[in-house]
Amino acid sequence: MNDHRKVFIRLSVVLVGLIFIIKLFTIQVLSDNYERAAEGNILQRIIEYPYRGLVYDRNGKLLVVNNPIYDLMVVPMEVKIKDTVSFCQLFNIDKETLIKKYQEVRNYSVIKPSVFIKQISNEDFARIQDKMIEFKGFYISARSVRDYPHTSLANAVGYVGEINKSQLDKDTTNFYRMGDYIGISGIESTYEKELRGTRGVKWKMVNVRGVEKGSFKDGQNDTLSVPGLDLMSTIDLDIQQYAESLLDGKVGSLVALQPATGEVVSIVSAPFYDPNMLSGREFSKNFKILSSDSLVPLFNRPIMAMYPPGSMFKIVQSLIALQEGVLNPDELIYSDGNLIGDLAPNGYYDLRKAIQYSSNNYFYRIFRRMINHGIDPNPFIDARYGVALWREYVSKFCLGVAPKIDIPNPKSGYVPTVSYYDRVYGENRWKFSNIYSLSIGQGETLVTPLQMANLAAIIANRGFYFMPHIIKSIGETGLPDSIYQVRNYVGIDSAHFIPVIDGMEEVIRNGSGRRAYLPDITVIGKTSTVENPHGEDHSGFMAFAPKEDPQIAIAVYVENSGWGGRAAASIASLVMEKYLTGEVKRKALEDYVLKGDFIY
């Protein structure tokens, strides 16, 4: 009887062994899931964030730097909070948030570190650092955020922020990950590729508590991070800050360029804000405040705000008429006030005088010659040819087309086309009498302050411009983009600029722009009082100086401040004085601007 029991016992032993070997075969040989799970257990991919490139002004002063900031990381498996109350106090969160956040990170991973609280400031870090020992499982990880030491130039430098879903989808190079930072506006956005640098990746082995146990395969798959390239801006910080102080409390823009290079020396959008508001932990809160402000400080006025050019446009009209040969600058034209409203007295005007007095009726007549070219006897058809030709000229002045400045979203302004009037009035149903207000820069034409500054540069250069730009050089030896290194000719012979510039000189000496007069430097300028149907007129002014060797071209718009000769001309003149002589001697004018009471 016992014989088969002996066999049965032995068979059971062998059977168990066989089951084990087969089961192990399925786990160890047939399945590779466990191998992958094992790598998942021990491998930790550590991203090394590169430092974002710095931005300097043209004199080497820092405009944008990186500041250390600290993220509170947590490894749920190790967490031990003895005293939740003191934890909540230390990190300034309530208990529910703590529990909710903790659940979130726990659901993500128990053994992998996740971010618990983002962007703890340097000051908070000092306070927290000593108490960290009480909270097991929490670590501090250092990163950097943007810092703007001079608090100027907010809209031009822009800001960085966490990448959003649509940007992530657009990123075909697969560079960004969720939670990465990306330049959102201004230089930060335009030069994102140069500034961001290259991320490094380190593969670390970690033990069950997330403690590092050395590099994986001796680091052969690791890459080093490469810091972003530093940029040198064309901005002169001193001028920028001075210009900002002049525009403080006003709504408007200022753009100052070097005519010989197209370099933007100063670009102000008022009202402005401290760019540091949009860096770091308070981003969302501050962004809300800024975007709900009725004066829209986030609206980058110098490149986005569109106004009628006003009388400044008369310069363009003069040059086109001269080039087309419909005007002799010395021809005396009797201009009385019966065609169009005018502040200039009745009388005979040549071009210089017309510019000096900004005679509306003179330019009405000049523009009529331009439009009614006499190509076709039918005034309706003739006007079509005239407008088409005129518009071609105007476009070459970079008007009605967006300047390719290296700040995102410059607006093109508006210069009406033949098809526009066809749409409005019907084909062949409009002629000069419908469009005459274009002659004096009113009507449908719209420009941005940047375009007006560029116009001043064109006049200063007597016929060409460099595309305005705000970055001088990229990296150690880098140059700006090649589009900023070519002359763009506007198709007007340089000789035609002589009478125009003479007229503009008189504007400053004896005309509406007297506030812009500088004793030792010949300033060339033109004011605009931009008709504003919604309220007080806007004050506009463009100028360059000195006359013979132009160093600076400038345009200023101050909204609702009345005559161009007052607010805009004063501000532009002070900035020019500061730029050209290094100091401002005309304290009375400075006080007048700072007081800012221009409407009277």
């Binding site: 029991r5 032993v13 168990v16 084990f20 192990l24 040989v29 191998e35 094992a38 970690v206 146990k213």
Partner: protein, 423 residues
């Protein structure tokens, strides 16, 4: 018949060879499981588990010499004494023992030397059972003999359960294999297996359905059986007993079984039910073993065990280190070695002329078989996590001593088998 008293001639060298192989493999694996790489670590470092284990291994040589030099008849004659002594120690440890992770299983003598009496209860019980069963008058059919021999198992089992150390207590069930070999009716085994099945059912199925099921089976059985009153009553009695057992299991599970035991059983069925909590051990253990693939990552090259993903890596989960570093090749070889060892012990048991030696031999085989089955089964997810060591491989002095003594006494008895006269 040759009667060679030279012990070296009669000793079973195959078993001794397997023993040495396993012990050395264990030692290397213990080093691998504590190895942290590159820091000038030394397998002989006495502050490491591998160094300590080496001391224990060395000490087994002394144990071997002592056991071999004592007269073989001594073991039979002092069986009860040893058993009694161990029972006393098991009682003693409940009062004076040191509590380690919730169980009072250890005597601590100094700070270094710890001893776990339950490890020694195994060979002591094997001796006592062998002694009792070898009485010429012993019959399993004799109810008082049957109860006595079961009591011999239950004594240490209960004391160990009180520590509480359910895992080690469970090992004493292995003696049922011995009883089966020695003539215990197989119905005990069948009923035992039926009850285990019922036990698992009660864990996962609502009590109500089980009761309904029992009722249904009873009705069918009565319907098909010969329609005699006696048969019907018999079936009914069985049904009522089953019902009683079911209810008591349910009571046991809800009121006596600790939650962590319940969870361990649950996790066995579905380890993914709680992969970070109670399923952690099983999941990580399988990941470690599975990641070894065919040939393993190489000695000291394992990551899962080294970086503490696997718990208790040098003791209960030593098999993981082996699986990860030596792969399926390594695990298969170890399993085959164990099977050969157990079969060899059974072979040796069968060739004994004395019933004492044979019963003892079967006891040795059964204990090793249970340890082997439960330990490896738990690491690969076939058994619930029961904290018992893998014989000869796991780190631990008491366990190594216990298994060594268990095996050496058998070798001693076997070496003298020719000196036993046929009865």
């Amino acid at each position: 018949m040759r009667r060679d008293t030279n012990i070296t001639y009669n000793i079973d060298w195959l078993i001794l060879f397997i023993y040495s192989t396993l012990v050395i493999m264990g030692w290397l694996n213990i080093y691998a499981s504590v190895y942290e790489g590159g820091t000038g670590m030394n397998i002989f470092d006495f502050s490491l588990n591998s160094g300590k284990q080496l001391i224990w291994i060395a000490s087994t040589l002394i144990i071997f010499s002592i056991i071999m030099s004592i007269d073989f008849k001594f073991y039979e004659s002092v069986s009860y004494l040893i058993y009694g002594l161990i029972l006393f120690m098991l009682l003693f440890v409940l009062v004076f023992g040191t509590k380690v992770s919730g169980a009072r299983s250890w005597f601590e003598i100094g700070s270094f030397f710890k001893i776990q009496p339950s490890e020694f209860a195994k060979f002591a019980t094997a001796l006592a059972i062998a002694k009792y069963a070898s009485q010429p008058t012993f019959r399993f059919s004799n109810m008082s003999h049957l109860l006595t021999i079961f009591a011999l198992i239950l004594g240490p089992m209960l004391l160990i359960l009180l520590q509480p150390d359910a895992g080690t207590a469970l090992i004493f069930i292995s003696f049922i294999i011995v009883f089966y070999r020695e003539g215990l009716t197989p119905y005990v085994l069948i009923i035992g297996i039926f009850f285990v099945f019922l036990f698992i059912l009660t864990m996962f199925i609502d009590q109500l359905y089980i009761i309904l099921g029992i009722g249904l089976f009873t009705a069918i059985a009565i319907g098909f059986a010969e329609k005699t009153f006696k048969k019907a009553v018999g079936i009914l009695i069985i049904a009522v007993m089953t019902l009683g057992v079911t209810l008591s299991f349910d009571y046991f599970q809800t009121n006596i079984l600790k939650p962590h035991h319940q969870k361990r059983l649950m996790v066995l069925i579905n380890p993914n039910s709680d992969p970070l909590g109670d399923g952690w051990n099983v999941t990580q253990s399988k990941i470690a073993i599975g990641s070894g693939r065919i040939w393993g990552k190489g000695f000291l090259q394992g990551t899962q065990t080294k970086f503490d993903f696997v718990p208790e890596q040098s003791t209960d989960f030593i098999f993981c280190t082996l699986g990860e570093e030596l792969g399926w090749a390594g695990t298969s070889v170890v399993i085959i070695i164990f099977i050969v060892l157990i079969l060899r012990i059974i072979y040796i048991a069968e060739r004994q002329k004395s019933r004492f030696a044979r019963v003892y031999g079967y006891g040795v085989a059964s204990i090793l078989f249970f340890h082997f089955t439960i330990n490896i089964g738990m690491t690969i997810g076939l058994f619930p996590v029961i904290g018992i060591p893998l014989p000869f491989l796991s780190y631990g002095g008491s366990s190594l001593w216990g298994f060594s003594i268990l095996l050496f006494i058998l070798l001693k008895l076997d070496a003298h088998r020719m000196q036993i006269l046929n009865r």
